[in-house]
């Protein structure tokens, strides 16, 4: 029995007990938690590598690792963070756990396929991590595996690429599952426009997963074939073209950025109305801007290649499209702000982290627009500015969206409440450390510090020192944040079904939810965010 005194999905109610009851479970909530634990493990590993990389940039610790190891470190940091944490993080963890609850369903459309996706994820992760220890050392190409270097290097690229290839299956199958779930399993009365906005963002994300991931599979397959058999499609010595590789890689990997950020935007859209105690401003604008981001975002990949030798016309087109994709993103930010206006705000930790998301994501987004300008891009290309920018988006955006989602839904997932004070306290070092680390990178990049360099000129010393100290402060915040949640998982006070007074369907069921989610199948008669008169039955 759980804290709430009712049998929940956390109790083994099936024929199996213990670990087997988890790793063979087709319950979307258990699979969501499996993803949560695995991806958090990878996040901590990735963060540790990041910490070492920052340390190496201090003169005193410079010789802690050699140049070749440094190349491997930034490659592994990128692969682990992107493929194992940021891409599957929100859709696989909270998409799995919350999507069926938010639309009033019992489970996803294909529960067994869902479990299979988790196994694909774990297998891909195991293969990618095995590449670090087998063969001739960990890959040193950077996470983008650019040809022709990735074809020539003696390190273990083939296995790492194969790991990413397998991870792609997990992503695609999850996307297929969620699209079908949203089409078929919405509760009676839940029309498309009565659906909460997190499912909308998952819907857009899933389409990107289905449409873009296969191209990554093709590309990675060609890299493997190239290394094994020498088919020559990306190899200039055999008539192939490395620029073709870059196109194909970014045809997936730019939309993948929206796989990462859209679900985080969806989380923020759930959190704001709950704590502003009013309906979301511009429901349809937010819903369609998710689709708009997914659509336009699929056509902007060339902005990663402005200095690669594309035609000026192609550069111009990609620059224009990049500017355009900022429009639906800005629509969201304006609507979020307008939602807070004249709300009766109940300032709780999830809202704090959600607002931090908006702030950090805005910096990330605006620096992105800067890079979208062709002339500026030439100056900023491959500098720390880029590194700072995408950490603002990926970490400040997706990362803080993930933290906000954890704080918002933790009481629902485990039926227990964490210490709100500790969540406030953790925020302070996280916010300060984050900006010390990544804003400094923006400045360093503007001054000309190239990314992925083992060494730096003495003129950049101060910047690197500030950033490294920032990384320590940031990690301190992370430790407090997760220690708080880990403690609350076992010893937290009972949370009750709706600790935040949210109006969406997941708060109508006990916490943690029972296996079948809803004791009675819900019937929906109103929109998702209704507060005030007649809000709760």
């Amino acid at each position: 029995m759980s804290a709430a005194g009712h049998p929940s999905f956390l109790d083994d109610t099936g024929p199996r007990k213990g670990v087997l009851a988890w790793i063979l479970s087709t319950d979307h909530k258990r699979i969501g938690l499996l993803y949560l634990y695995a991806s958090l493990g990878f996040f901590f590993a990735g963060a540790l590598i990041g910490l070492v990389m920052r340390l190496v940039q201090l003169d005193r610790f410079h010789h802690l690792v050699g140049a070749q190891t440094y190349n491997a470190l930034f490659t592994v940091h990128g692969v682990v963070m992107i493929f194992l944490f940021v891409i599957p993080g929100l859709p696989a963890v909270f998409g799995n756990f919350m999507l069926p609850l938010l639309i009033g369903a019992q489970d996803v459309a294909f529960p067994r396929l869902n479990l299979a996706s988790w196994y694909f994820y774990m297998a891909g992760a195991a293969i990618a991590l095995a590449s670090l220890f087998l063969g001739h050392g960990p890959p040193d190409t950077g996470w983008s595996f650019y040809a022709p270097f990735s074809l020539r290097t003696g390190t273990n690229v083939t296995l790492a690429v194969f790991g990413a290839f397998v991870l792609g299956f997990s992503s695609m199958l999850t996307g297929i599952n969620f699209i079908t779930t949203i089409h078929r399993l919405r509760a009676p009365g839940m029309t498309w426009f009565r659906m909460p906005l997190f499912p909308w963002s998952i819907y857009a994300t899933s389409w990107i997963q289905v449409l873009a991931t296969p191209i990554l599979a093709t590309t990675l397959m060609l890299v493997m074939l190239e290394r094994i058999a020498g088919v020559g499609i990306f190899d200039p010595a055999r008539g192939g073209d490395p620029l073709l590789y870059q196109h194909m890689f970014w045809i997936y990997s730019h939309p993948a950025v929206y796989i990462m950020i859209l679900p985080a935007m969806g989380v923020i859209t759930e959190i704001l109305p709950t704590f502003a105690r009013r309906t979301i401003f511009g429901y349809k604008a937010i819903a369609f801007s998710s689709i708009g981001i997914a659509a336009v975002g699929s056509l902007v990949w060339g902005h990663h290649m402005f200095t690669s030798g594309m035609s000026p016309f192609a550069n111009l087109l990609f620059s224009l499209l990049t500017m355009i994709v900022a429009v639906p993103s800005a629509i969201k930010v304006f609507n979020w702000t307008a939602t807070l206006y004249k709300g009766s705000i109940d300032f709780q930790p999830p809202l704090l982290y959600a607002l931090t998301f908006i702030f950090l994501f805005s910096i990330g987004g605006l620096t992105g627009v800067m890079q979208g300008a062709l002339a500026v891009n030439v100056h900023l290309h491959d500098t720390y500015f880029i590194v700072g920018h995408f950490h603002y988006v990926m970490f400040g955006g997706t990362g803080f969206g993930f933290f906000a989602a954890l704080l918002y839904w933790f009481p629902k997932m485990f039926g227990r409440m964490y210490s709100k004070t500790a969540a406030w306290i953790a925020w302070v070092p996280m916010f300060i450390g984050f900006n010390m680390l990544y804003f400094t990178m923006l400045v360093l990049g503007l001054e000309g510090m190239p990314r992925r360099y083992y060494n730096h000129l003495p003129v950049f010393n101060t910047g690197h020192e500030v950033a490294t100290v920032g990384s320590w402060i940031l990690v301190l915040g992370l430790v407090i944040f997760f220690a708080n949640l880990a403690y609350a998982r076992f010893y937290g006070a009972e949370a009750g079904p709706a600790p935040w007074g949210g109006s969406t369907l997941e708060w109508t069921t006990p916490s943690p939810p029972p296996v079948e989610n809803f004791p009675e199948p819900p019937v929906v008669t109103r929109g998702p965010y209704v507060y005030g008169l007649g809000a709760r039955p």
Binding site: T13, A109, G175, R184, L211, I215, G239, V515
Partner: protein
């Protein structure tokens, strides 16, 4: 607590099953489309070399294989109609014929590859390395695309073998033959991809 007591009876949604399959086919199409993109770009870059390389292809075998594969789609479609009309033995015969035709396709393909490898036309061969760059990538693409297609044929044959057992045991319900229909969709996709591969490689000259 017993799960059966908590959960209502099994809920089956064939429409969802069909939708999921179509989405999966979409990913398959896009998986191949990446290779078609490589092909179109490299062909535009080396039109003359592709013409020269295409003249080394065995058109007769290629066309014969096309006929084999198209016929196999016909037999499978006939099998689905047969099961819907509750003629299980006929349906089983149709599925087995499809598997047989798939195997014939693979044998034909193996004969072609063997001949080409014998002529030194494979990545890594010194003969191919002396050819113009467009010819080299043509054969790189040829082995990649027909190889990937061949893997899909093998996957299709495996799935259809399971289907044959299910049909024989009466597991396919005549009113709702979802599994057989979805296998058919996959098989037809494999067929459609081949219809594009034939002109791109065999008729490139």
């Amino acid at each position: 607590m017993n799960l059966e007591a908590v959960l209502p009876h099994e809920h089956r949604d064939d429409f969802a099953g069909k939708l999921g399959m179509w989405l999966f086919l979409l990913t398959e199409i896009l998986f191949f489309s990446g290779l078609f993109l490589c092909y179109s770009y490299l062909r535009a870059k080396y039109p003359a070399d592709f013409h020269q390389a295409g003249s080394d292809m065995n058109v007769v075998l290629g066309v014969a294989n096309t006929i084999v594969l198209l016929t196999s789609s016909l037999t499978l479609a006939a099998g689905i109609v047969a099961i819907q009309r509750r003629r299980r033995r006929l349906a089983l015969g149709c599925v087995l014929a499809t598997i047989l035709l798939g195997l014939v396709f693979l044998v034909d393909k193996a004969v072609e590859w063997t001949a080409e490898i014998h002529h030194g036309l494979y990545p890594g061969a010194s003969h191919l390395a002396r050819q113009p760059p467009g010819v080299q990538v043509f054969f790189g693409l040829y082995y990649t695309m027909t190889g990937l297609h061949g893997l899909h044929v093998i996957a299709g044959i495996s799935v259809l073998s399971v289907m044959a057992v299910w049909v024989a045991r009466g597991r396919i319900e005549p009113d709702r033959p979802l599994a057989l229909e979805n296998s058919g969709l996959f098989w037809h996709l494999v067929d459609v991809v081949w219809i594009f591969l034939l002109p791109l490689f065999y008729l490139a000259a």
